[in-house]
């Protein structure tokens, strides 16, 4: 602690803590530790304990009951097993693993148990108990994905659109920018926060280095994105149970926003590390290993987590009758909320046919592939558009974007097919050459820097002029420069045009303006 602690502050805390001093006798259910080691404890007694219940050890550490056996109870520890001895008393809490969630969590960094770890004091405001494990909403309470979730990344918003309530996987090798895509998406929600229709974001760091988490928090703070974001951190140094439960904590926080009728976005970074820590715990609990030594229920682990991502029916009445609603939020339930999930999976040497990647690919509504060779050749974000898909996002695109993106997708598909020929350097006919040249310009347009999400109207404007071929003559090296100047001009002088684009309209007035301005400006670049 810093040196500048005021005495009255100390005495205030003392008074507050001491006032809760328990004086009445309480009957507790107890057991005793038989053996402890490797983060797993076997306990004798606790005959009425439930699976999934939290228990407390003598030194105040919490554990979670996972195995109920004939003569003992197997529990995982949420901390170091160092302070626990054989014969120690273990108490039941009679609480199924749950956390306290509230609006006061925004801007905070919490651990898997929902306790703040950023040193900014207790969570402010009212909190509600949300269970970590909760059944996903049933079919009746859901609605098709219809609203866009703007990621601010041109390649994604145009060709692999994500809708609110969708589960879109971000997959790729290490160092391909997976986290960057997710962070940019969170940062891009700032404009909605400023407009007063925030998309609440939850970033779950599971098994990451503490320095990486600190870096992410700093980046979010710099971008002013922490105001509407909660970070759940279970670092690599935390015990395995803390790590594999952290995505469930993220989901529980997201559900609080979802069920109170607000849109939320949760990033699970990353689920392959979560699977590894789950494997560790399962093996220690002597559950039989399966493929790649993962336990048999690793698919269910991910499917039940990702199923919680949903778009809830807009009707309040229907939403209120939703299954498995926690009692704490029953009277504040509203319809129309959504929980978008962006799980991240790290592959080894681009192998998507490994166990965990195939599992998660099959669970999610599409995937964004990031590739090392694209990253190294300067295409950043390194999204391989050819094999990335979004199964439901198309319905969620705004109309104007849908129109321009259709052409872009076609153009890029043709370009990829012909690109190989271009490498031979043989003489090509004019039509083929045009496709290749335009493809390269489009590719240049789709590049963007980290922490620089682009508003959707800007995306539409630049993609429109590029796919229409108005900037075919601009040299490749100057395309970025052109884009910057063009967007600056459009936002400065044609605010109404941009607003129309944002509203989803692409009428003649808009297209004419875009065309004239682009051709005019392109002329400057061609000489």
């Amino acid at each position: 602690m810093s040196a500048g602690v005021r005495p009255d502050e100390v005495s205030a805390i003392l008074r507050e803590q001491l006032s809760n001093f328990k004086s009445d006798a309480e009957l507790e259910e107890v057991g005793s530790v038989l053996q402890v080691g490797d983060g797993v404890a076997r306990i004798y007694g606790l005959s009425n304990v439930q699976a999934g219940e939290l228990i407390v050890f003598e030194n105040g550490m919490q554990g979670l009951v996972l195995n109920l056996e004939e003569d003992n109870v197997g529990a995982v520890l949420f901390g170091d097993s160092k302070g626990i001895k054989e014969g120690d008393i273990v108490k039941r809490t009679k609480k199924i693993a749950s956390i306290q969630v509230g609006d006061g969590m925004l801007g905070r960094v919490v651990n898997t148990l929902g306790e703040p770890i950023d040193g900014k004091g207790p969570i402010a405001g009212e909190t509600f108990e949300m269970p970590l494990e909760r059944k996903a909403p049933g079919v009746i309470y859901r609605e098709p994905v219809s609203e866009p979730l703007q990621t601010g990344i041109k390649a994604i918003d145009s060709m692999i659109p994500v809708g609110r309530g969708q589960r879109e996987l971000i997959i790729g090798d290490r160092q391909t920018g997976k986290t960057a895509v997710a962070i940019d998406t969170i940062i891009n929600q700032k404009e909605f926060y400023e407009k007063g229709e925030p998309v609440f974001c939850i970033y779950v760091a599971c098994g990451q280095k503490a320095s990486t988490v600190a870096g992410v928090v700093a980046a979010l703070e710099r971008a002013g994105a922490m105001d509407y974001t909660v970070v759940v951190a279970a670092n690599a140094s935390d015990p395995a149970p803390m790590q594999f439960f952290s995505p469930f904590t993220g989901a529980a926080i997201g559900e609080f926003f979802r069920d109170t009728g607000r849109p939320a976005l949760v990033v699970y970074d990353d689920l392959s590390k979560q699977a590894v820590s789950y494997r560790e715990v399962s093996l220690l609990l002597r559950r039989p290993p399966g493929r790649e030594a993962y336990p048999g229920d690793v698919f269910y682990l991910h499917s039940r987590l990702l199923e919680r991502g949903a778009k809830i029916n807009a009707n309040d009445g229907i939403a209120r009758s939703m299954n498995d609603l926690p009692d704490s939020i029953k009277d504040m339930v509203k319809g129309g909320g959504s929980l978008t999930a962006l799980p991240i999976i790290e592959t080894q040497a681009n192998d998507v046919s490994a166990y965990i990647p195939t599992n998660v690919i099959s669970i999610t509504d599409g995937q964004i592939f990031l590739e090392t060779n694209l990253f190294n050749s300067g295409i950043r974000p390194a999204i391989n558009v050819g094999i990335s898909v979004s199964r439901v996002g198309g319905n969620a695109q705004i109309k104007s974007m849908k129109k321009v993106a259709g052409t872009l997708k076609l153009d890029q598909a043709q370009f990829r097919e012909l690109e190989a020929f271009a490498k031979f350097g043989s003489d090509l006919d004019a039509a083929t050459q045009l496709i290749i040249d335009r493809g390269r310009i489009n590719l240049e347009i789709l590049k963007q820097g980290q922490y620089e999400p682009v508003p959707v109207e800007n995306q539409i404007a630049i993609i429109y002029v590029s796919t229409k071929g108005y900037i075919d003559k601009v040299p490749l090296k100057r395309v970025k420069e052109f884009e910057n100047e063009f967007i600056t001009l459009m936002t400065a002088q044609y605010r109404d045009i941009m607003d129309t684009l944002r509203a989803g309209k692409l009428d003649d007035n808009v297209t004419d303006t875009l065309k004239n301005e682009a051709i005019n400006m392109a002329r400057k670049y061609t000489n």
Partner: protein, 186 residues
Amino acid sequence: MSDFRVASRYAKSLISLAESQGMLEVVHEDMQLFSQICESNRDFTLMLKNPIINHHKKLSILKGIFENRVNTITMSFFEIITRKNRENVLVSIATVFHAQYNQFKGIEMAKVSTMFTLDEPLRDQFKKIIKEATGKHNVELAEEVDKELIGGYILKVEGQQVDESLKGKIKELKLKFLHNPYIKGF
């Protein structure tokens, strides 16, 4: 406690055998005697658990000690145990047998830890509380004097406890202070 499963099975069959022969009380007394000897004589327990000592030797030692002191059922039980090479669980069997006997007879086992030895009225008071709480009329109260409690008592009844000791309260307070949300944790 790792031999709990084996012990509970042996104890269960011993109870049902003794019960069918109408010798339950006698066998229970025998097993209590056995437990007592184990508790008072560490060498005896170690001998039972020692894998190097031959089973025949163990049986003859058991015979030497218990031959004329226990019932024939108990003695033949010892014989079976040695034949099955389970002498090492015999101590646990005696403990589990006692627990199962109590369950069978509807006796509640309770343990109370205090700073000083209980006097008769206090003891009766504890028994009355336990009877009321569990609804069983036979209460077997084990007492323990623990100077570390500072004050108050700890009462344990079948997997439940009431911790009214000062030591427990201070510990709780200590844990509360350990948890400080003003310290950065990552």
